[in-house]
Amino acid sequence: MTQTALAETRTAEQGMAAHARAWLDANLPDALREDRPSTRRNTVAELCDWEAKLHRAGLVGATWPKEYGGGGLGLRAHLDISREIGRTPMPESVNSIGKELAGPIIMAVGRPEQKAEYLPAILEMRDIWCQGFSEPNAGSDLAGLRTRAVQTADGWVVNGQKIWTSGASKSRRCLLLARTGPVEDRHRGLVLFALRTDTPGVDIREIQSIDGERSFCEVFLNNVVIPEEDMLGSPDEGWAAATRVLSIERATNRMHRAWRFENQLNHLVSACLSDPATRHLAESTYRRALAEVSVNIELLKGHVETLVGSLIDGQEIGPRGSLPKLFWSEAHQGFARLALEIVSQFPVEASDTLRVARKRMEDIYLKSRAETIYAGTTEIQLDIISKRILQLKRKA
């Protein structure tokens, strides 16, 4: 990049925070605000429409190349935008797998025509993606996966089963991981596909989760034929690139979390303060516990901002991506537990303000149970830290 282009990029980056804040304040519809009463659930179409608008406003895909519909900006701009998105009580993306996992992997290993087809469709919300990695016998231990892909004259024929596939029932594409050889090959012979979910032989069944939602699914694959052009990278190469992307993604995905967490805490406290009957909960009973949550949020920001700085400086993140994941998931669960205890004490005849906060905190509490399970359980993160950061001796 030339000096002039670099300076232009930096100027564009510096303006992003103010632009994001002003745009979100002006454009987030009340119906999508998580701190307002709602009478019905938002539809997938409404959410897609909102996310497409976010993209058109330059608030999604800031770091993606311009040729694929991105903003061509640096990570610092992404962090600035993420802060503002976090501060705004809006729904989580229905396409975070597309934007934060499939997209970066396609950019790393996709052929030019794959990039041109898949990437803009993700940002424009024409294609929602899901992640077909986990299997009934291969959750944390992905090397144990059994879904087989056999190369034939007509393309790859895939048989197997995936589980915990978030959003599969509303997705158009699945980032599918399968193996070309026997299970004993472990990490060898793994291959990645961009599977169309409407392909014959793909059977998707929703699983109801503890929050009552049907956000994740089982995906059965019976003699599913995937054309050669939907393979991402060659066998082995695709997965090797994917693991590199994953280590960065673990550190940077949903970068807005710390600020959304802060928004949730502020919502809880302001709800308590809105009513004479509940003021004491924030002012005295749980005063110190709430302050400790606030300290944890600042500490989480320290992890996120420092890791972003390291990435900008070109440093490898490697296993350090486990640190913010572990810190965030446990701190947020702690908050969720406290929040539920507090809203449980709201009066029976509560105002709208209290009712909305109670509903949101109940929801956060139930959803938070998954946070120490998905994207590598707490136990897996602790194993990664002890094995790869501390490099502890495991045998005599």
Binding site: S270, D383, I385, A396
Partner: protein
């Protein structure tokens, strides 16, 4: 302020470690102050006019990290900050602090009512030539023991930097403005976190070494997942302190005051947890005087009190309620 881009805070790591090790062998505080001054560490923040290096706060971090990890028995944090604060107010005094001739400390807890009162938590006050005491006007006076002020021994946890009480009957000496004291206290938060980081890193390193050397049931302690996870959590705690010191000093940080406060409160809690955990991993040995983990724990607890960690959590609560109202 120096804009010499050739210097990097990490350049001071080796020097700070070597000086800290040499200080452990030194006979007393005057000798330790000589060693610290010779290496330029007492004047790292002070302007060049008083013999200092005029470097930003970030350069003091690796130095205090080495001090915290190496049991440095000197009021280095206080000397660094007071040499900078008194430059321009009393240059001769600032020079004497930088040169190591005049070890100084701060009574971090309490304030005078008028010109008298009792203040406390002054590390190494019994060995120091002067003590900064804080007044009700939020300014400070650097009193001299024996001249309207008396240093009294106090029960103290910290073995390296034992705290004392100062009974002031008529405060007199060079003064600092309320603004200067506010800056000194704000910067002390991050520097205390750096001392705690050094101590916590040493605790983690000792615990990890011990867990890999100590064999029970035919295998090292570190072969047990419970021990691995214990140490992994300690690693997370250490990295949390490190990343937050970094954030507090970063020019990109939008809220440096809130970041510094959280960094110190977090370091006080997490640092103590790492030291306690290291004692646990060491088993019975951890409870002995000989294994120095308790010295780190004592220092961390003393630093938490000197920085007023409990008051700061209350300040966080007050801000949270004010912002949400």
């Amino acid at each position: 302020m120096t804009t010499d881009t050739e210097l990097n805070p990490e350049d001071f790591v080796e020097t700070a470690r070597a000086v800290t090790t040499a200080c452990a062998e030194a006979a007393g505080l005057p000798e330790r102050m000589d060693l610290l001054a010779e290496a330029g560490l007492t004047g790292i923040l002070a302007p060049e006019a008083v013999g200092g290096m005029d470097l930003p706060l970030g350069f003091a971090v690796p130095v205090l990290r080495a001090a915290g990890g190496g049991f440095l028995a000197a009021p280095l944090l206080e000397c660094m900050l007071l040499a900078r604060a008194f430059a321009g107010v009393d240059d001769a005094l600032a020079s004497a602090i930088v040169s190591g001739e005049m070890p100084v400390t701060v009574a971090w807890s309490g304030m005078l009512g008028g010109t008298s009162g009792v203040v406390g938590r002054a590390p190494l006050a019994e060995a120091c030539a002067r003590v900064l005491v804080l007044g009700a006007d939020e300014g400070g006076v650097l009193v001299t023991p024996g001249e309207g002020a008396m240093v009294e021994t106090e029960s103290t946890l910290d073995l390296e930097r034992p705290e004392a009480r100062v009974r002031v009957t008529a405060a007199s000496g060079p003064e600092l403005s309320a603004d200067a004291v506010a800056r000194l206290r704000a910067d002390a938060l991050v520097l205390r976190a750096a001392l705690i980081l050094g101590a916590a890193e040493d605790c983690l390193s000792r615990a990890a070494d011990y867990a890999q050397e100590r064999v029970q049931f035919g295998r090292p302690l570190s072969a047990n997942q419970s021990i691995q996870h214990h140490l992994a959590r300690d690693c997370l705690a250490v990295e949390t302190i490190r990343n937050n010191i970094h954030r507090s000093l970063s020019p990109e940080c939008a809220v440096p005051a809130a970041a510094a406060r959280a960094t110190f409160v977090g370091a006080a809690t997490l640092g103590a947890r790492v030291a306690e955990s290291a004692i646990q991993v060491h088993g019975g040995m951890g409870f002995t005087w000989e294994v120095p983990l308790h010295r780190h724990l004592r220092m961390i607890k003393a630093l938490a009190a000197q920085g007023g960690a409990a008051d700061l959590i209350e300040a966080v609560a007050a801000d949270l309620l004010a912002n949400a109202a």
